[in-house]
Amino acid sequence: MPIRGERINLREIRKEDLQDILDLRNNIDGSSIARNVPPTSTYEEFLNSHNKSELSFDREYGFFAIETNDTKEFVGRMTFSYMGPRFCADIGIGIKESFWGKGYGHEAHELLLKFLFHNMGLQMVNWRTWSENHGSLKLAIKSGYTITVRSREAIFIDGKLCDYIGLQILREEYYERHPELVDNLQKI
């Protein structure tokens, strides 16, 4: 059963998603990877990687497709990684350009945060971006993150050195924003 939202679901990656994920990866403007990798990934590479994936009970890493509830259209992809067991995780997101500015990123983000805090019991979630990625920063702040680290002139993107920005949302901050949910984990 996918993680269900009002307009979208977060579900497993399927073979038919690979071309869309590839397009996200090769779109320099939309790349959330921000490591300045050349936009030269191929469908075959993604297919190979997809075919190699095996059934796993490893909870350190999650990779979801975001799709619309009604039309089942691919909206983007969402990941969590670097999970310290039941402690913290990093989030990553990429949205197809045709869905930008419509609140899908925020909704997907809220779904994943609920999964991580309420189902997985994490203590905090981290978000990493850079100072000129205004869309990413806006989405993070809207989702309740606060900026905790700013490393100056650290990431070279689009012709200039930008600040690295680290953001965090703590468990209790998430629950304060969601009074409809009860935190049953004992406070540490």
Partner: protein, 191 residues
């Protein structure tokens, strides 16, 4: 014999399998329990706070990362005369080579001898002079006040506090971040 990286009393060299027993003994000592030494083998965020006692496999994995020329480097710091392992230094440039996360640890029994003061400015100078780096960032546990003051004397500026980076000793622990830019770095002789 001379080394690529050497100071008056120390030199840096690769850590190899024969150093594992020493590292296990030191890294598992209670004095290093709260050190942010894990920084050098995790990306910018994330921690290994669930590891209470390092094992041989943990250290082997760290060696692998320190051997990855596209992501990070790590060396032992040795005494020139006795070849004793004094500490380690590691730097991670996995996201962008302009941005280095720098981590230096002098092991407890070698402290109070001025090794950190001798080695840190030298290595920072080497990084700025030989790599593309524009920003060097360090992470320091909230209780390491002396280390924070020390990096500030080198010109580092506070760049943030990562909240609850680890959970140790019955409480969440914050990590303090400091950074310095290439243009802010005085030449090594001035330090």
């Amino acid at each position: 014999m001379t080394f690529v990286l050497e100071t008056e009393r120390t030199y840096c060299n690769r850590l190899i399998e024969k150093h594992i027993p020493v590292l296990l003994e030191v890294w598992n000592s209670s004095e290093l329990r709260y050190m942010t030494m894990n920084r050098s083998f995790r990306d910018y965020y994330g921690s290994n706070s669930h590891i209470m006692i390092y094992g041989e496999r943990d250290i082997t994995k760290i060696f692998e990362i320190w051997d990855d020329p596209l992501r990070a480097r790590g060396f032992g710091i040795f005494n020139k005369e006795t070849h004793e392992l004094l500490g380690h230094v590691a730097y991670d440039f996995g996201w962008d080579p302009h941005f280095i996360v720098f981590n230096l640890v002098i092991y407890p029994k070698n402290r109070q001898n001025g090794y950190a003061k001798e080695v840190t400015p030298y290595l920072i100078g080497e990084i700025f002079n030989n790599l593309l780096t524009n920003n060097i960032t360090v992470f320091i546990d909230e209780d390491e006040i002396i280390a924070m003051k020390f990096v500030e004397t080198l010109g580092f500026k506070p760049s943030g506090v990562i909240k609850r980076e680890t959970y140790r000793g019955g409480k969440f622990r914050n990590t303090h971040c400091f950074d310095i830019l290439k243009r802010e770095w005085r030449n090594v002789d001035a330090n």
